[in-house]
């Protein structure tokens, strides 16, 4: 039995102290210990991107809100399993590459798998938010 480690973490503004086995993944900790089921666990070896944390904390940010609205508008989700990871990846994109082309959006989002939509709707949704933000900053 591995020795438990005491960790302190802040999740969405709340402090927590927990004793955990070293092999416990952050996403399992969030889901099973803290009851935050928004982050999903897919492949468990870094291929599908579903486990990107932490979507519950996003709703207060305008850029994340805009992405969520755009995903709904464009039907960029069906079962929704990949959506938390998609939103977090997309948010990093609009923060770091506000001038991304459609091709760059596709490349950036390529680490997140979706088995429902065929991706076009997701790329449409992200591109629309990029275009909106350009219009806003021009106005």
């Amino acid at each position: 039995m591995a020795e438990l480690q005491t960790i302190r973490l802040h999740v969405n503004g709340q402090a927590h102290t927990c004793s955990v086995p070293p092999r416990l993944h952050l996403v399992d900790m969030l889901r099973d210990e803290l009851g935050l089921k928004g982050s999903h666990l897919g492949c468990e070896h870094g291929v599908c991107g579903a486990c990107t944390v932490e979507v519950e904390g996003l709703a207060d940010f305008p850029d994340a809100r805009a992405l969520q609205d755009s995903f709904v508008k464009h039907n960029a989700l069906q079962c929704g399993f990949c959506t938390p990871g998609m939103l977090l990846a997309a948010r990093e994109l609009i923060q770091h590459k506000p001038d991304a082309t459609r091709e760059e959006v596709r490349e950036w989002m390529s680490g997140n798998y979706c088995r429902c939509t065929g991706y076009h709707a997701i790329v449409d949704a992200v591109c629309e938010v990029l275009a909106q933000r350009h219009q806003e900053s021009a106005a």
């Binding site: 591995a2 092999r23 468990e44 070896h45 990846a89 490349e107 390529s110 680490g111």
Partner: protein, 291 residues
């Protein structure tokens, strides 16, 4: 799947890491960005009893220009390299290659030193380090040791790094005028393991190649150079005749191993495709420099 149980120690100094390596021997694995090690644990390909997390040793992070080299610290992430102006200026090959490494989330965590020490035959950084004739710097109980990239990668996931050593950084010679670099790989989907990849470093005298390094990934159990073909390129312009000679030489020199979906013959053919593409590109660039 979940990984087997292991103990975990986060060290704050190289000395602490070295003492743990000395006392625990081969039951340990060094954890940096974890983008190869943690999947390997989850798939139960590796069962160390102790992970030594070196992620908190800030001295191992960062990119700087030393006297005549670019020094990349072991904990520098792929994204750090992607975003670095120093890399773009002094080692442009790395800039060309970095987009081929997996996907953004993985590039945000995965490290330069982890990739070099892991020596995956399909990984980009070992192949680039070999093409750039870089040097690996490691520290062990006896002090620091420098190893040329040409001697470092010895086999499948195997390097000259000893069990009691930690990789500190790599030194890469600064790009010179009349150097030319290119990187390309062929994969079924972008970000997948490449079927074949080529890092090329040419040095020109006018339109003529003065020196050449062709470094391959994905072909054999380790990254490797095609030295016979490199020698053939020296003193030649990159015209149609040379391209045919290069393709013939590669067919003779390379001996790729089949993977799950591609035969050795397919890989050999794809290697000649990559070489033709990059040399054609090099020639076009040199022609535009000349005119």
């Amino acid at each position: 799947m979940k990984s087997p149980e292991f103990d975990y120690i986060k060290v704050r100094s190289v000395e602490h890491a070295l003492s743990l390596l000395a006392s625990h021997g081969d039951e340990t694995r060094v954890l940096a960005g974890g983008q190869s090690l943690l999947p390997a644990l989850n798939m139960r390909l590796s069962e160390p009893s102790l992970l030594i997390d070196i992620g908190g040793i800030d001295a191992l992070r960062g990119i700087q220009v030393t006297q005549n080299a670019l020094r990349i610290g072991a904990l520098t992430t792929h994204t750090d390299i992607e975003n670095s102006a120093l890399v773009a200026q002094h080692t442009p090959l790395l800039k060309l290659a970095v987009g081929h490494i997996a996907h953004r989330a993985i590039r945000n965590s995965g490290t330069w030193g982890g990739s070099i020490a892991n020596a995956d035959p399909a990984a980009e950084w070992p192949c680039c380090l070999l093409a750039l004739d870089g040097t690996v710097i490691a520290q062990g109980p006896q002090g620091e040791r420098r190893m040329a990239a040409a001697d470092f990668f010895t086999g499948l996931y195997t390097t000259d790094l000893r069990d009691d050593e930690i990789l500190l950084a790599c030194d890469i010679p600064l790009a010179q005028r009349d150097d030319w670099f290119a990187f390309q790989e062929l994969a079924r989907r972008h970000g997948d393991y490449a079927i074949a990849g080529l890092a090329m470093h040419l040095h020109f005298a006018g339109p003529v190649v003065q020196s050449a390094r062709l470094s391959w990934l994905g072909l054999n159990s380790t990254t490797l150079r095609s030295r016979q073909t490199e020698a053939l390129l020296v003193g030649k312009p990159l015209d149609a005749v040379t391209l045919e000679l290069v393709a013939a030489s590669l067919r003779e020199e390379l001996d790729p191993i089949a993977d799950l979906t591609n035969t050795g013959a397919t890989k050999k053919h794809l290697a000649t495709v990559l070489a033709r593409r990059l040399l054609t590109q090099a020639n076009a660039t040199r022609q535009s420099v000349a005119t």
